[in-house]
């Protein structure tokens, strides 16, 4: 039997592994974000589209730039920067000046990710780092909301979109008045709650008939998109579940104390970016705990802080800060929540 001696390659077990890879997970997150993006463009028109393109490009280019500078293999193709870009745009006001959006994208990757050593090492969710930066740098623009379903939104841009860098963006109030469909102003459900004590109907919140950021639109749509990822086992449902539990619990306490002054738990969950942020941002794997109990505590903490800041803080939407805080607390949470292993011996026994 003169057979060629086979070529044998030595590696250790296990020899089989399961898909998906990181890149596949990230790609699917992008797919899951697409319906939300499309709906956002339908709601807010061309400006929202340009905003998404700008942050995504800015994040991807920044990632590429740092890879080139440090002589590393390009990591753009793992899609994580693209996700950061998309998520970032979805947390910004649709009329946010594009140049500021580009700055946000740059900071997200440069400060939120590369500074820590790239994917896997970031302590915070990069998109939220970018957003926090522009929140501090451009406090006016980031709280300038424009109406959804504005007339002519597919043919003209929101006046502030094309603001010239380092110049004060054009005011949008007058424009908002002229284009808004009946009864709508630029106010978001959360600012209505905070400043006027008006609680928007949950039906409108579910369907996304409200103003706000793209990621603050239809709760149902966001749930569906998240559901897809959970179904594909690419999203840890425990994180959003814990955040929502934390939110409901905390909001319930206040609601029970005084239902006229404080909004219902349902409103708290559906309004603002909570759905989006809890499903897509709090669940950023890298910056959240891995231990089962840790995940639960992290979620509760984020939910709790969100409600507290919303009700008593200076900001209208606060989930982003709550998540950043949770990210910072992650190592501490993890160190106290290591899983109990199989066969742990009772104390005293050796």
């Amino acid at each position: 039997m003169a057979k060629p001696s086979p070529k044998i390659d030595i590696r250790t077990s296990p020899y089989i592994r399961k898909a998906p890879t990181v890149a596949e997970i990230m790609r699917n997150v992008v797919y899951a974000l697409m319906p939300i993006a499309v709906y956002g463009v339908y709601q807010f028109g061309l400006s929202a589209l340009l905003l998404m393109i700008t942050t995504t490009l800015s994040c991807a280019l920044t990632e590429q730039l740092f890879c080139t500078l440090s002589g590393k293999k390009s990591t753009v193709s793992d899609f994580s920067a693209v996700i950061s870009g998309l998520m970032l745009s979805m947390s910004l006001p649709p009329g946010f000046p594009l140049w500021m959006a580009a700055v946000a994208g740059f900071t997200a990757i440069a400060m939120g990710k590369t500074l820590f050593g790239g994917i896997g090492f970031n302590v915070f969710n990069p998109a939220l780092v970018g957003r926090a930066f522009v929140q501090a740098a451009f406090p006016v623009s980031i709280t300038t909301w424009t109406p959804a379903f504005a007339e002519g939104r597919f043919s003209e841009l929101i006046p502030s979109t094309l603001a010239i860098p380092f110049m004060k963006p054009l005011p949008t109030e007058a424009w908002s008045m002229t284009v808004a469909p009946d009864g709508y102003t630029g106010a978001t459900p959360l600012s209505l709650m905070k400043y006027q004590n008006i609680f928007t109907d949950s039906e409108q919140l579910l369907l996304g008939m409200t103003n706000g950021a793209v990621g603050e639109s239809s709760a149902i749509l966001i749930l569906l998109c998240g559901g897809y990822l959970v179904y594909r086992k690419m999203l840890d449902w425990r994180i959003p579940a814990a955040v929502i539990t934390g939110t409901v619990l905390t909001a319930s306490v206040f609601y029970l104390i005084d239902p006229t002054d404080y909004p219902s738990p349902l409103f708290m969950v559906l309004a603002g970016g909570l759905m989006f942020a809890s499903i897509f941002m709090a669940s950023d794997m890298v910056a959240s705990p891995v231990t089962p109990l840790g995940i639960f505590i992290f979620g509760l903490l984020v939910g709790f802080l969100t409600v507290i800041i919303r009700l008593f803080g200076g900001l209208t939407e606060s989930i982003m800060y709550a998540i950043l805080f949770g990210n910072a607390a992650t190592p501490l949470i993890e160190s106290y929540t290591q899983p109990k292993i199989y066969g742990t011996r009772k104390k005293g026994g050796k």
């Binding site: 296990p14 896997g120 292993i341």
Partner: protein, 448 residues
């Protein structure tokens, strides 16, 4: 009952569901392989001290003859000649464990009828525990599930411990492997005898056979043959990897946990594998030594995959030629794809603990680049021991091996591979853990 079973499925937390790849071999009857022209019998095929050869170069030995005695006052078992022939040499030969080990090489006699020697019948029913245990030792039997722990030693229970239940492991959770499946179908009577011997040896009240619920037809066959005294029962457990690990099986069957780095006897259990029981049931009543075993030979690159009865010591090359190995670019594995050992030489012989030879297409086992841990927590949700492989992996990358051992239970990891299997970043976690353990051992030795 059917519905109830569905809800009260016996299982353990975590684990994984890899594809099974068993159909190729599970339905075929076991075939006896011819004798290879040369047989290599390593003196250390078991956990413990190597056996001591009692034959010399040039000596003619009969099939079944004792050729190496167990080392004295140590954990050790004897070795029997698996063919009739002439001792060619006693020298260092390649082994599955990596480094070369001292082995007895026998040139098979082409003219011998190859009838195995036996010591004559003995009635285990009239023997007491001590007698049974020494008779088991004489057979040279070790755990055939892979670890190779001497079976007699498993039966020596410290006096202060009481064994109430013998657990029989009929879970073959590794993909591809079907030897236990075939043994349970083809050698069910010998297995029952073996189980009765084991019950007697450890003075247990009963035995439970745990079988994965994907082997319904096997369960039916066994249920048919259960003795009337109700001493032995059969239970279905969930088909999941690593159900066949002792720790997982007892958790599934009885809801108990073997204490961390302790023995099953601490909680009143003795655990044996079905193939070991079948061998014991056929060897011990005839005072015969362990000279052959069943192995699964399978994988993408074979023309005749199947289960084969092979003399222990048969070189892999001989088996692969017989099974129609096409010689393509392949990865050779002794054991299953989750925990098997890589093979470096085709001269490596089958030993008592070898349950399978797997030939996988290299393209199928190719791994992508390693990426940083994205802390997806999938490994934590897969680890049956409930370790934190993510943290362990990161510590390994920082070479904090001591912390891994002290604070993160490194030594409780039994290298089942679930964490590596699910890791989307392709991190070879198990490999890291093996290295860490080895380095820790070295460090402990240096520090005395």
């Amino acid at each position: 009952m059917g519905l109830l079973q569905l809800f009260s499925k016996k299982t353990f937390p975590h684990g994984i569901h890899p594809p099974e790849y068993k159909d190729e071999t599970s339905r075929k009857k076991t075939i006896r392989l011819a004798f290879a022209p040369e047989i290599v019998l390593p003196l250390s095929q078991h956990i413990g001290a190597p056996a001591i050869p009692i034959v010399h170069k040039g000596q003619f030995v009969e099939r079944g003859e004792l050729i190496a005695e167990p080392a004295e006052n140590a954990l050790s078992v004897p070795i029997h000649a698996s063919v009739s022939g002439t001792v060619k040499d006693i020298e260092l030969m390649p082994s599955a464990k990596g480094p070369k080990v001292k082995s007895i090489i026998i040139t098979t006699s082409p003219s011998s009828p190859q009838i195995p020697l036996t010591g004559g019948p003995q009635d285990y029913l009239s023997m007491d525990s001590t007698q049974i245990i020494s008779a088991v030792k004489e057979t040279g039997l070790v755990g055939l599930g892979g670890a190779g722990f001497p079976s007699y030693a498993k039966m020596m229970v410290p006096k202060e411990r009481n064994i109430h239940t013998v657990v029989i492991n009929g879970c073959e959770c590794e993909p591809f492997l079907t030897t236990d499946h075939r043994v349970m179908l083809e050698k069910v009577d010998a297995m029952m005898t073996g189980i009765n011997i084991a019950i007697k040896a450890v003075n247990a009240d009963k035995a439970i056979i745990g079988i994965e619920n994907n082997k319904r037809e096997v369960m039916d066959v066994i249920r048919d043959r259960l003795p009337d005294d109700n001493l032995i029962s059969v239970e279905a457990v969930e088909t999941k990897y690593p159900q066949g690990a002792e720790k997982m099986l007892v958790k599934s069957l009885l809801g108990v946990e073997i204490p961390s780095r302790g023995l099953p006897s601490e909680i009143g259990l003795a655990i044996f594998n079905v193939a070991t029981m079948a061998e014991m049931g056929s060897l011990l009543p005839n005072r015969q030594g362990l000279i052959e075993r069943i192995i699964t030979v399978t994988g993408d690159e074979l023309e005749r995959p199947g289960n084969y009865i092979v003399p222990i010591g048969t070189p892999l090359k001989y088996i692969l030629d017989f099974a129609g190995f096409t010689g393509a670019e392949a990865e050779l594995i002794l054991g299953g794809p989750m925990m098997g050992l890589p093979v470096s030489s085709l001269e490596t012989p089958v030993t008592k603990g070898t349950g399978a030879v797997l030939v996988l297409d290299k393209r199928a086992t190719k791994r992508d680049d390693i990426q940083p841990c994205i802390k997806c927590s999938m490994c934590l949700q897969a680890c049956p021991i409930n370790l934190n492989p993510s943290e362990l992996g990161q510590l390994a990358a920082k070479r904090r091996y001591d912390v891994m051992e002290k604070d993160y239970h490194l030594n409780d990891c039994f290298e089942c591979g679930c964490c590596s299997y699910v890791c989307p970043s392709n991190i070879p976690l198990v490999q890291y853990f093996r290295i860490a353990k080895a380095l820790n051992r070295e460090r402990h030795i240096q520090n005395g």
